[in-house]
């Protein structure tokens, strides 16, 4: 491979990775925006999303690659079911572990979030075992450049890459519409800015928080399904790693800022793909976390966020 082919290939890899990070990061940023909690368990909801989607496929009798009408009916159905499952899971987590602590110190729900994260990981471990599980190749993989365009190139772009982009972008646009244009979205933005004032204006704050967890969980589920179909592998500990990277993405974009989270997700995607290629995969984690630390120290409100003043 020529050097530029390597770069293009890794950039494409970064784009698909980044799309998944972005979807997870959105859930982090939404929850942080509304209750100022780093929902540590969010990455594990993503991981369970992958495992749950696997069960939905199994339940619907899908074991091999989908084709034709199956693709346009089954796939959206599984997306819907998986997103619904993880959304309900996320809401349940909030109800049990965070909601009783709304008036507590800020560190208390963070500690329970870590606890929930451990519980979810170990549920997955006991459910699927410690070994990586293989995810059936449900989505057809076609080498686009060669088979559709007849270009013989070392660069490898498949229909799976299209799936990632084709599923992520509409989800983000839908989310943007939901938050910017709907009544519920307005309630979410108001609650994020000032919970008490929002309450005084007649917004049901608890329901709005519930909705936020619901939407965030749904996005994490979608990310899990996409991850499974793209990489055909799942591990019980993947939520921790992906969650930390997605959180880095959210912080990078300015936590609480949704376009920032999406942007940050893609940035971390590119960064990790390039680092794997040009430095060494074993250093990638250290590099991502160094970036996280640098951003938090020098620009704690992210690249797009603004610094709020403390009231004295």
């Amino acid at each position: 491979m020529e050097w530029w082919e390597v770069l293009v290939q890794q950039t494409i890899n970064g784009l698909t990775r980044g799309a998944v990070f972005a979807l997870i990061a959105l859930g982090y940023t939404m929850v942080y925006g509304i209750i100022e909690l780093i929902n540590f368990a969010h990455g594990d909801v993503f991981m369970l999303g992958l495992f749950i989607s696997l069960s939905w496929f199994a339940l619907l009798g899908v074991t091999k690659t989908l084709t034709g009408w199956q693709l346009v009916t089954m796939l959206p159905l599984v997306f819907l079911l998986t997103m619904l499952s993880t959304a309900i899971l996320n809401v349940a987590i909030d109800r049990v572990a965070y909601r009783p602590l709304r008036r507590s110190t800020r560190l208390a729900p963070l500690i329970t979030a870590i606890g929930v994260s451990f519980m979810l990981e170990n549920v997955a471990l006991l459910w699927k075992g410690p070994a990586p599980i293989s995810y059936p190749d449900v989505f057809p993989s076609v080498d686009i450049l060669r088979e559709w365009f007849g270009i013989d190139s070392a660069i490898f772009v498949t229909t799976k890459d299209l799936l990632v982009v084709g599923a992520t972008i509409p989800l983000m646009l839908a989310l943007n519409y939901f938050v910017a244009r709907t009544r519920w979205g307005k309630a979410m933005r108001a609650t994020a800015q000032d919970r008490e004032t929002a309450q005084a204006m007649g917004i049901d704050v608890e329901r709005t928080i519930l909705l936020t967890f619901f939407v965030g969980g749904a996005l994490a589920g979608a990310a899990g399904l996409i991850q499974g179909m793209y990489y055909n592998i799942g591990q019980w500990w993947m939520g921790y790693q992906a969650g930390l990277r997605a959180f880095t993405a959210a912080v990078l974009g300015g936590i609480g800022n949704m376009p920032g989270a999406a942007l940050g997700g893609f940035f971390i995607g590119f960064l990790s793909a390039w680092s794997d290629q040009y430095i060494s995969a074993r250093w990638t984690n250290a590099i991502v976390f160094s970036i996280l630390i640098l951003v938090l120290v020098f620009r704690p409100h992210g690249l797009l966020g603004s610094r709020p003043a403390e009231k004295v």
Binding site: E36, L37, I38, V96, A97, P100, L101, R103, S104, T105, R106, L107, A108, P109, L110, I111, T112, I114, G115, V116, S117, F118, M119, L120, E121, N122, V123, L125, L126, Y240, L244, F247, V251, S280, R282, W283, N285, A286, F289, S290, L292, I293, L296, V297, P300, A309, E310, V312
Partner: protein, 652 residues
């Protein structure tokens, strides 16, 4: 008598235990020693999390540094010259603690301005980076083009870890074959650490940590430097893990990076949280419970479950292995403790903060006695007599101070000269910029333009705690005490910047430090007696009625030995009688202590009654200055402020 017997009994049990264990053939000494190492780690973490309130999710990184410092310095792996020397362990354990402390400083230094959960995430990031670095530094190859300046360099042993590691040496003590000497070694280190921590907690430094935990801004404005205080917490917390790490490495004879992962940080956090963050006894209890749970309960219950399974004939139970669930149980434990008993097993039970009304009611029931001038602490008078000799006639000169918030000009070229010994009233409608003015004088906010000169020296660029040390103290409009500290401790934090005990002093307590601490406590008690809170010295600040909280804030400010006192709406929310008492108090502070007072106040009767001069702000501009009589007649003041007649504003 029973209390007196408790300590000797505990010591006796700890001393006799390993021999009883050997006699009965239990072979639990190994496990108990390991548990004690984790308890020591949890105690170090407690300094950071429990005292200073900084959530550290990567504490295992310090453990790793301690263990690797011992491992690499006292192992043939890298050809360390120390290996094989009989005394190397006793040297390396100090080096390891020092290296961990240095790492604590390195991690702490850039992160000090980051607060709360962001800080937690940074520590988590370091906790992830350190094991990755240890793994990868075992095999470094640097390739630039075709040139390899570094090829397969091994710095850390990589995934295989470090092995062997030198054991401690004492003449005639069989560290090689017997677990009992290890038990006593760890016991001695643990007891010494506990002793040091106990002394640190009850020192000026321990109070500073807790003040930072309770309210960083208020601590800063009370003379506690948040940056050095936090750094100290990180460095000391880390140094204890350095001791623990080096003993761990030497005991195990081999270390691998896998022993220092995120899970270990979380397990240690579990110990601290379960026992009750901030309580030494609680952390020991939490650490012991979790170790026993991990090492004994899970495996024993597994046997039991399997036994039941065989008896009942359920194959699922026969093959069950509860030890696989250990991290699940840790997670569950964190959630349950936070939900059911957030203060931990040994923590103080606190009731939720009561907002507003009820506490106001309480203060009606027990009206506070008026402070008596003759009760004024002698040491404050002495201080006043010495400080009064300064040359300048004006104590504070403010020139052209401007501050914008976005498009709003909160203060526009405000000038103010405060004569020494005067009471200056600062009035103006809500939003006029009065509190912003206070925030600028005390260093919480930087002015965009203008000059501040206090006793002939500029205040430009000083942090709030440095300004307190210069002699300016303040109270807050919305009371900001340290709610989970006692009334006495609140006042002692005020004295912090006038005390000098260092870490060594706080631990070793030479006569100078003991005398200083006794004097500080006497002074705090005198101050409380003067302010009328002497009966409540050991109550938690949060449990005081509203009026008492206001007065405690003034006592805390006085404890910093100020020459200029800034009072932000001191009578807000007080009943007429409390207001009168406070007015008398302010007057006597000026008269007796020669204290200069700058006063924001909405109660016109108070302001007009005690101020020598009044400055009026409106929309960030000084619109009038003069004696109370002049201000009352001033046309612009009447127009801006009193024009519609005197209406008391609602208080927050």
């Amino acid at each position: 008598m029973r209390r007196a017997l408790r300590w000797p009994a505990l010591v006796a049990v700890l001393l006799v235990y390993p021999f009883v264990d050997r006699g009965l053939g239990l072979q639990t000494v190994h496990a108990v020693s390991d548990g004690m190492i984790y308890v020591l780690l949890a105690l170090g973490l407690n300094i950071v999390v429990g005292y200073a309130g900084l959530l550290d999710l990567g504490y295992a990184a310090f453990f790793a540094i301690g263990a690797y410092a011992m491992g690499l310095l006292n192992s043939p792996l890298l050809g360390s010259p120390l290996y094989g020397h009989p005394w190397s362990f006793w040297l390396c354990i100090w080096l390891a603690a020092a290296m961990s402390a240095l790492l604590g400083l390195a991690i702490g230094a850039p992160t000090l301005r980051v607060r709360g959960d962001y800080l937690a995430i940074i520590t988590l990031g370091f906790g992830e980076i350190i094991p990755v670095a240890i793994r990868n530094l075992g095999d470094i190859t640097l390739e630039i083009g075709g040139w390899r300046p570094i090829e397969r360099l091994n710095l850390t042993g990589g995934e295989n870890g470090v092995n062997p590691i030198g054991r401690p040496y004492l003449p005639g003590v069989p560290f090689e074959t017997d677990p009992v000497p290890w038990y006593f070694l760890i016991l001695v280190i643990g007891a010494a650490s506990l002793w040091a921590m106990n002394r640190l907690r009850d020192s000026r430094l321990g109070r500073a940590w807790m003040a930072i935990r309770e309210d960083e801004t208020a601590a800063d404005c009370t003379g506690v430097n948040p940056i050095s205080t936090k750094l100290l917490a990180f460095a000391l917390g880390a140094s204890f893990s350095g001791f623990a790490g080096s003993v761990y490495a030497a005991k195990l004879q081999a270390i691998t990076p896998g022993a220092f992962e995120f899970q270990v940080s979380i397990m240690l956090l579990c110990m601290v949280v379960l026992g009750g963050a901030g309580s030494l006894k609680g952390v020991i209890l939490g650490g012991m419970l979790i170790t026993i749970f991990d090492r004994v309960v899970l495996s024993q219950t597994t046997f039991f479950v399997r036994w039941i399974g065989r008896a009942v004939g359920v194959p699922a139970l026969v093959s069950a292995d509860l030890t696989l669930w250990r991290w699940f149980f840790f997670g569950l434990g964190l959630v349950l403790v936070m939900l059911l008993r957030p203060e931990g097993l040994a923590g103080r039970r606190v009731r939720p903060i009561v907002v507003g009304g009820d506490d106001l009611g309480d203060s009606h029931v027990e009206p506070a006695p008026a402070p008596r001038v003759d009760a004024l602490p002698g040491w404050l008078r002495d201080r006043a007599a010495r400080g009064g000799a300064s040359a300048t006639a004006s104590i504070l000169e403010v020139q052209g101070v401007t501050r914008r918030f976005g498009g709003v000009v909160a203060l526009n070229e405000v000038d103010l000269v405060v004569p020494r010994g005067a009471i200056i009233g600062l009035i103006g409608p809500n939003g006029a910029g009065k509190t912003t003015f206070f925030n600028i004088v005390t260093g919480l906010i930087r002015p965009d333009a203008g000059r501040l000169v206090f006793e002939g020296a500029s205040l430009a660029g000083l942090r709030p705690n440095a300004i307190v040390r210069r002699g300016i103290a303040r109270t807050f409009q919305s009371i900001r005490l340290f709610p989970e500290m006692s009334v006495l401790e609140n006042v002692l934090v005020g004295e912090h910047c006038r005390l000098g005990a260092t870490v060594a002093g706080a631990v070793l307590r030479p006569p100078g430090v003991v005398a200083e601490e006794l004097r500080a406590r006497d002074r705090a008690r005198e101050l409380l007696a003067f302010i009328g809170l002497d009966g409540k010295a050991h109550d938690l600040a949060r449990n005081l009625p509203y009026g008492d909280q206001r007065r405690l804030e003034i006592a805390r400010a006085l404890a910093t030995e100020p020459r200029l006192l800034l009072l932000d709406e001191p009578t807000a929310g007080m009943n007429p009688r409390e207001t009168e008492t406070l007015t008398v108090l302010i007057g006597s502070l000026r008269r007796e202590l020669d204290l200069t007072i700058l006063l924001i106040e909405h109660d016109m009767e108070v302001v007009m009654g005690i101020s020598d001069q009044i400055t009026v702000l409106d929309y960030g501009v000084r619109i009038a200055e003069g004696s109370p009589a002049e201000i009352q007649r001033h046309p612009r003041v009447i127009e801006a402020y009193l024009g519609t007649g005197y209406e008391p504003e609602p208080h927050a």
